[in-house]
């Protein structure tokens, strides 16, 4: 009979037990999950179970991680994501969350640029940790992303982005992401990108401060190849700060728009 073990279909003899399976595939496994529940006593398998064998402290290798992503996402989704190159300008509340989401999805090549360092006030919404305060954001984020997937290509640059260096640093990307904080920088990047690379989509964000309704944040095609996520109006100002949930909603609108563009699906229309 056949059974799913670590997201892979395996052939096993009939009347095979859980412990026999473990001893055959990974005798060092010290945690056995059967349909998501940790099992400590041996039991007979009927093939309908989903088994996960874990050897605590041992990380999956490249091939195993690939197999897990492939099983989760199907080849039609996994392969284009793996082949894609995505640029992220800015590693703050938007950029750090977008990078984490795209790395988890298995986007094969990320280019991330930011000049900033992690400061205490960032921790309310940005994907950094208290022990990373003072580190360059791209260094700290790079380490976090490597803990999610050490195998994908990651290029992190600590640089102040301007209209001169943006076209060069991000020349290889398939989809570009604007993840700045300051409106002048957002406008500069949009003009620069769409002018230099009109065929390469840009996913930008505007309007996600405060704790207004979640559903006011949308994704729309604003002009040309520019996709814009946010509510379009809620600026950061005194009494209207940036908070993790709405920044995260906008960031994940952007990340999902990237995924759809990479897969060749219209980001706006339902298919």
């Amino acid at each position: 009979m056949q059974i799913m073990v670590n997201e892979k279909l395996r052939e096993i003899p009939d009347h095979f037990s859980l412990f026999q399976l473990r001893d055959q595939l990974n005798p060092a496994a010290d945690l056995i999950l059967c349909d998501g529940i940790a099992i400590h006593a041996d039991q007979l398998l009927d093939g309908s179970e989903r088994i996960i064998l874990i050897q605590r402290g041992k990380q999956p290798n490249h091939e195993e991680l690939e197999a897990l992503l492939l099983a989760r996402h199907t080849p039609e989704v996994h392969q284009p994501l793996k082949n894609a190159t995505v640029g992220i300008a800015g590693a703050g509340g938007l950029g750090s969350a977008i990078a984490v989401a795209l790395m988890r999805c298995g986007v094969g090549n990320l280019i991330i640029a930011d000049y900033d360092v992690v400061e205490p006030s960032n921790l309310n919404r940005q994907h950094y940790f208290i022990d990373q305060i003072g580190q360059a954001k791209v260094t700290a984020l790079g380490e976090t992303l490597r803990r999610i997937n050490p195998f994908n290509t990651l290029q992190c640059e600590q640089v102040f982005l301007d209209k001169e260096n943006i076209p060069r640093i991000f020349s290889e990307v398939d989809v570009m992401v604007e993840a700045f904080d300051c409106p002048e920088a957002k406008a500069m990047l949009s003009q620069c990108w769409l002018h230099n690379y009109p065929q390469k989509p840009l996913v930008a964000a505007s309007g996600m401060a405060g704790y207004g309704p979640s559903n006011s944040i949308t994704t729309r095609r604003a002009l040309g190849n520019l996709y814009l996520c946010g509510d379009g109006k809620t600026a950061v100002q005194p009494g209207m700060g940036l908070m993790a949930p709405r920044v995260g909603i906008a960031a994940h609108h952007q990340a999902n728009t990237v995924i759809r563009l990479v897969l060749g699906i219209d980001p706006i229309e339902e298919n």
């Binding site: 957002k186 604003a222 950061v236």
Partner: protein, 66 residues
């Protein structure tokens, strides 16, 4: 004469430059991106363009936060 801005027709005086229109709309030219008759402009181009009847203009206004 009339131009279309973000799908809305707006009446403007002849010989209006794009920069004058931006001012008239109360926008900050450093915080916007403009598609002018399907061309994406850079900010340096805003004052050099004199609007013509029937022009199609898309303006995105960015607000701070990220």
């Amino acid at each position: 004469m009339n131009v279309t801005i973000n799908n809305q027709v707006r009446s403007i005086e002849t010989a209006t430059t794009l920069s004058a229109l931006i001012d008239e709309m109360g926008l900050d030219d450093k915080r916007i991106a403009i598609e002018y008759n399907r061309d994406i402009l850079t900010r340096e181009q805003f004052p050099t363009i004199t609007l013509q009847d029937g022009d199609n203009i898309e303006i995105v206004n960015f607000v701070g936060g990220g």
